[in-house]
Amino acid sequence: MTRLLATLTLAWLAAMPATALAGGHAPHQPDETGAPLAAPAGAAAQRPEWVERRLAALRPERPREYLELGEEIAEQADNPSMRTLARTLFVLAYETSKTAPDGRAAQPAGSSGAAAEGDLRVSVCLALAALTDREHERTWLRAIAASLGWKAGRADGGARRATAAIDPAALDLSNALSLIRIGEGRQAARLLDKPEVAQLLLRTERLLSPAGLTGGEARVRRLMAEWPNCPECRNRRFVRNAEGVRLCPKCGGRPGPRLLQQELLYQLRLESSILQGVQKSWVAQSIVDGGAPLRDLDPDELAKTYSVDPTRTVWRDGAWHEPAAGTRRGAGAAGSR
């Protein structure tokens, strides 16, 4: 089952990135996917008995129980399917709170921090934020929580979020691109031979094409191989003959590949992205981020973001069902979450 999970994961990842990038997700995300994996039915074997029991007891009239169970699972989650389950529970806590008789359940005794706000939606956002390791996603969830009234421990209202640390390999990759452009392929190769630099290029190669397609990394390596240095002048830029000093006939006095302006533009886009440049014009910004839309602060987005069906809130036979369908044994298609 683990091998099947890995295979399905790879297939899904291969299909996802182009559409994800075209859909305006922020470039240079370590993980291109925007949604959790659908846990195959076989993952049920990994769930402890107490989890199954508690899942089965959940009812949409009591939204806080979804949240509490999710928090308990998140504390102990040691594999992706359990983390996915925790996320699903958090989202369902929010969705069920919208229709429950008392959506803003009183806080449990002794609670503090975000729960002290008395708003389950805030708790859901913060719980999801704690579960993710993606900075951008965490910022988004915390911003939603703040818009719902949560007061962050440190003043970050209105200010741009703290810039994430620059990937240490970013400078080497950026330098390598420059070296390739000036025909110093050998020097560039020393940088690209570093595993972290090669990985960074692989992760960000889609920025090298306007349509977000793959192949950028191969192109860079090809350029590098074609220009270790100028075979005619060894990058001296000139040759000496009977007529005296002349510009090198091979490189024309400027070693390096002949790039179209558009290709240079997309190389710069990649460099700007990995170095976290701040653009000063709308057109430059559009080129760098492909016109990525501003993510909104609507908690109603949670279900869509985490691929949770808000209508399926009852657990039965290892899957989520709609409440009406869940009461009839064997009725309705089982969602495999």
């Binding site: 719902l148 400027r254 170095l275 653009q279 430059a284």
Partner: protein, 899 residues
């Protein structure tokens, strides 16, 4: 070098080096100037320059170039022969006279001092160091003397103010009446007389003790502006030779200029601005003097910069004598910020000074006028007492140093800067609003009372102008108190130029909230504002708005942005209609040029030049070949670099890459400096930026490299020794090049539409429109931010509104959250834009409770479209269209209906 280098040469090589042409410069005798001797002498003199304390300055570069030029001359046999014939007699005469020289006494067989007599060289180096120290001592003595003089002048000023002298802002002419006793508005109605401060001010001539500041400025006497201009130009010439000596003169002239620029003919004033720049550039050879000169310009607006640790103390009000200098100083700094070919040190100092004074309100249009106007916009409240001041407030209004006199100065400055009467009226009405909304109540503070009356009487209150609709807004504005309205309406009724206003239209003492609405209606009727606006402009607007709101969204990004710009223009017109400025709305809607640039048949923009070119052949390529052929010859390479400066632009990539390589890793240092200097001057060439970026990986981290990158990128970077320098430098270069190439990309049209959007928002927020490259992004954010503040204030005044689709506190929290997520200028604008719409929905739900459901539907639709958007421009259009729909509701435009 274009200026006289002799003082520089004397500073580095001694006075003897400026005598006898190239022989004195190199320290060789005409009788012994063979090639070996010349080379040795050149190296010796270069070593002396390198050992000098100022070896890294541009002045040192100039001296090096002079040495190379001299060596080049003497290495050419024909030129050498000519020069020997010319200089031998005087050289021999000087030698025979035994003149004291610091140059060597060369003889045929004596080797070069550096090689044969290190002690001699050491002694000369010590002499140079001593010279430098003596010069430093001279500077310190000068500064000390200047300080003593300033203290003495200050004491004189105190005495002058204490005796009620005619200081304070330029010796106001006798025709003025600076000490008018305060009089309440002479409203005759039983309820119309507003409570006013004691009309018999105790002593109109007595200067208030609270304002007797030891450092109170005393204006200079008015000097013929042309004479000031002439002196500035002479000062520039003097500064080239001795910047130190020119500094006091510069200080004096700057003070004259700042005290009286308002009275100058604009052309003369502009010429003076250029002359000031000329002086600063002339002082560039001496960094300390340059710093002092810039400080001399900036010091006149020091009142804008809060002293550290004094934010909790009451602010001292600006005195009349300070009003014009403050505006001049900020205007001049803004003018200087436009210059590109200035030392980085100067550019950074000017930029820092402007940031401290204007902050985010720095105008994108870097002219004197925009900077001075920006300063004047901030001044009105600063001319009044701080709100927390207690006591003596009555006395602070009167007299030559009173706030009333300061307001008069401010008015005169606004009129001097305004391009026309409409602009002047706008400036005055905004100043009046600032005083009404931020200063003490006029009934508590005579200064405020007098200022309000003065401004009301100064404003023309023309039909179609900005003042009338603004007054109507004040009746609805909670920041404008009843007391404010009483004083304003009383002044309007008695003594102002406003037509149709009589004593029945004075806000009475016992008036209530309903009276504000009633009186507003009276003024609107008297001036025919709202009805006229609706009739003339609304019909046209309604038709266009209905069509725009019903249109299908395009799909291409450039079309999305174009439609967003069109919608923003409609929304801007709607706001004008709402404010009663119907004529302005009509003009906006009928602006054919604007309409054509926005329509689907708009002509494509001219194709910008492709900047990333690679060509072989032509003058530049020939230059590259000759440069490479020069190999290691220093004189030849220097000469070729100078020739490249004359070849002109554009610079192709082969040439740029060669120049960049020399600038970054060229050897020896003088070639590197010369190449770096030229590369810095060519910072606007994309090929240069590209070439420097690509040379960066192999470049040694030197101070000159850091300066070059700062100059090219126009950004301040960490020191080159800082671990983060390389990333910061690369990032800055990538940003710069990306921005330059983007203008040549297929997406270049985005910028044009972005500028239109920015202008709509800036105008809606009563700000100057964006100017210059890169102004769109900054302008859009500034305009959106300002408009958000205005709309939020409107919403706060209307709160609570139960039927609003989004509660007000949530709107504000959402904005903060969106800003924390926003990356880049487009998303930052988008964050403000959607918050403006949410706040508008709040306001309109309160104004039209019966339309609350329709308002909610508009907001819901907007939120859904934003969620579904795949491109940020889709979000912008969805939001702007939502704003349009809200305006239709607010103006009562429904499908098939008319307002």
């Amino acid at each position: 070098m274009t200026h006289d280098p002799r003082p520089l040469i004397a500073r580095f090589l001694g006075p003897g080096a400026v005598e006898h042409g190239p022989f004195g410069l190199l320290g060789v005798s005409p009788d012994d100037c063979g090639p070996d001797r010349v080379d040795a002498a050149l190296q010796r003199q270069l070593d002396r320059v390198a050992a000098h304390r100022e070896a890294e300055t541009p002045g040192a570069d100039d001296v090096r170039l002079a040495l190379h030029a001299a060596a080049t001359q003497l290495l050419d046999p024909r030129v050498r022969a000519h020069l020997v014939e010319r200089w031998r007699p005087s050289y021999a005469a000087a030698r025979a006279a035994g003149a004291q020289r610091t140059a060597q006494q060369p003889q045929a067989t004596r080797p070069a001092p550096v090689a044969a007599k290190p002690d001699d060289l050491d002694r000369r180096l010590r002499e140079r160091e001593d010279d430098g120290q003596r010069e430093l001592i001279r500077v310190m003595v000068f500064i000390g003397a200047a300080t003593m003089l300033m203290i003495a002048l200050g004491l004189v000023a105190i005495l002058a103010i204490g005796s009620g002298g005619a200081g304070g802002g330029g010796g106001a002419p006798a025709a003025r009446n600076p000490t008018a006793a305060p009089t309440p508005p002479s409203a005759q109605g039983p309820d119309a007389a507003p409570p006013s401060p004691d009309p018999q001010a105790a002593d109109g001539q007595t200067e208030p003790s609270a304002d007797a500041r030891p450092s109170a400025r005393v204006a200079t006497d008015l000097v013929d502006p042309r004479r000031t201009l002439h002196e500035l130009r002479e000062c520039a010439k003097a500064a080239r030779g001795d910047p130190n000596a020119a500094l006091p003169t510069f200080d004096r002239l700057v003070r004259q200029l700042s005290d009286w620029w308002v009275r100058y003919d604009p052309a003369v004033r502009r010429a003076c601005d250029d002359a000031v720049l000329e002086v600063l550039l002339a002082m560039a050879a001496s960094p300390e003097v340059l710093d002092a000169a810039i400080e001399s310009v900036a010091s006149h607006s020091a009142a804008f910069v809060a002293a550290p640790g004094e934010s909790d103390k009451p602010r001292a009000r600006l005195l009349p004598a300070e009003v014009w200098p403050v505006a001049w100083s900020v205007g001049m700094l803004t003018r200087l910020s436009r210059e590109r070919d200035v030392p980085t040190r100067m550019a950074v100092a000017v930029s820092d000074a402007l940031d401290a004074r204007l902050g985010a309100a720095r105008p994108s249009d870097q002219t004197f006028e925009s900077g001075a106007a920006g300063a004047l916009r901030r001044l009105p409240a600063l001319l009044m007492n701080d709100r927390s001041v207690r006591g003596h407030v009555r006395d602070s209004a009167t007299g030559a140093t009173g706030s009333t006199a300061a307001v008069k100065k401010w008015i005169e400055a606004c009129r001097a800067l305004a391009s026309d009467e409409a602009a002047a009226e706008r400036a005055l009405i905004e100043g009046l609003e600032q005083i009404l909304t931020t200063c003490r109540e006029p009934e508590e503070d005579l200064g405020v009372f007098e200022a309000v009356g003065l401004l009301v009487r100064e404003i023309r209150w023309r039909a179609g102008g900005a003042a009338r609709p603004r007054l109507l807004d004040w009746f609805r504005d909670p920041r404008v108190s009843d007391s404010d309205l009483r004083v304003v309406t009383a002044a309007l009724a008695h003594g102002s130029a406003a037509e149709g206003v009589d004593s029945t239209m004075v806000f009475s003492a016992g008036a209530g909230p309903d009276d504000r609405s009633r009186l507003r209606a009276s003024y609107a009727a008297a001036w025919g504002i709202e009805t006229a606006g609706r009739e003339r402009a609304s019909r046209e607007w309604a038709d266009t708005a209905r069509a725009a709101a019903a249109a299908t969204y395009p799909t291409r990004p450039d079309e999305l942005l174009r439609e967003t710009a069109a919608a923003a223009r409609l929304n801007e017109a709607a706001r004008l209609i709402w404010r009663g400025e119907g004529q302005a709305a009509k003009s906006l809607l009928s602006d054919t040029a604007l309409a054509q640039s926005l329509g689907p048949n708009a002509p494509p923009p001219p194709a910008p030049p492709v900047v990333h070119t690679f060509t072989i052949g032509g003058r530049a390529t020939n230059w590259a070949e000759r440069y490479l052929a020069a190999e290691r010859s220093i004189p030849a390479r220097l000469e070729l670099i100078a020739e490249l400066d004359r070849i002109g632009r554009p610079i192709d990539l082969v040439t740029a890459s060669l120049l960049a390589r020399e600038a970054v890793i060229g050897s020896p240092i003088q070639v590197r400096f010369a190449a770096a200097r030229l590369a810095g001057q060519l910072a606007d060439e994309a090929t240069i930026v590209h070439a420097v970026l690509d040379e960066l990986p192999g470049a040694p981290k030197t101070a000159s490299l850091g300066e070059l990158v700062e100059r090219i990128t126009r950004q301040r970077l960490p020191r080159v020794t800082d671990p983060g320098w390389e990333i910061a430098a690369r990032r800055a270069l990538v940003e710069r090049l990306l921005g330059m190439l983007a203008r040549g990309s297929p997406e270049a049209r985005f910028e044009e539409y972005a500028l239109l959007i920015a202008d709509s928002y800036l105008r809606a927020a009563s700000l100057e429109v964006a100017r210059g490259a890169g102004a769109a992004a900054e302008g859009a954010v500034l305009g959106a931010r300002s408009l958000w503040s205005a709309v939020y204030a409107e919403a706060a005044a209307a709160a609570p509104v139960e039927a609003a689709p989004v509660p007000l506190d949530m709107i504000e929290r959402r904005l903060r959250g969106r800003l924390s997520l926003a990356e880049g200028p487009v998303q930052e604008f988008a964050a403000h834009q959607v918050s403006i719409v949410e706040a508008m929905a709040f306001v309109i739900s309160g104004e039209r409770p019966t339309s609350a459901r329709a308002v909610g539907a508009v907001v819901e639709r907007m939120q859904q479209e934003r969620r579904d958007a795949r491109h940020v421009f889709e979000q912008l259009l969805a939001t702007e269209t939502a704003a349009l729909r809200l305006w239709m509701i607010r103006l009562g435009v429904e499908e098939g209906g008319a307002p």
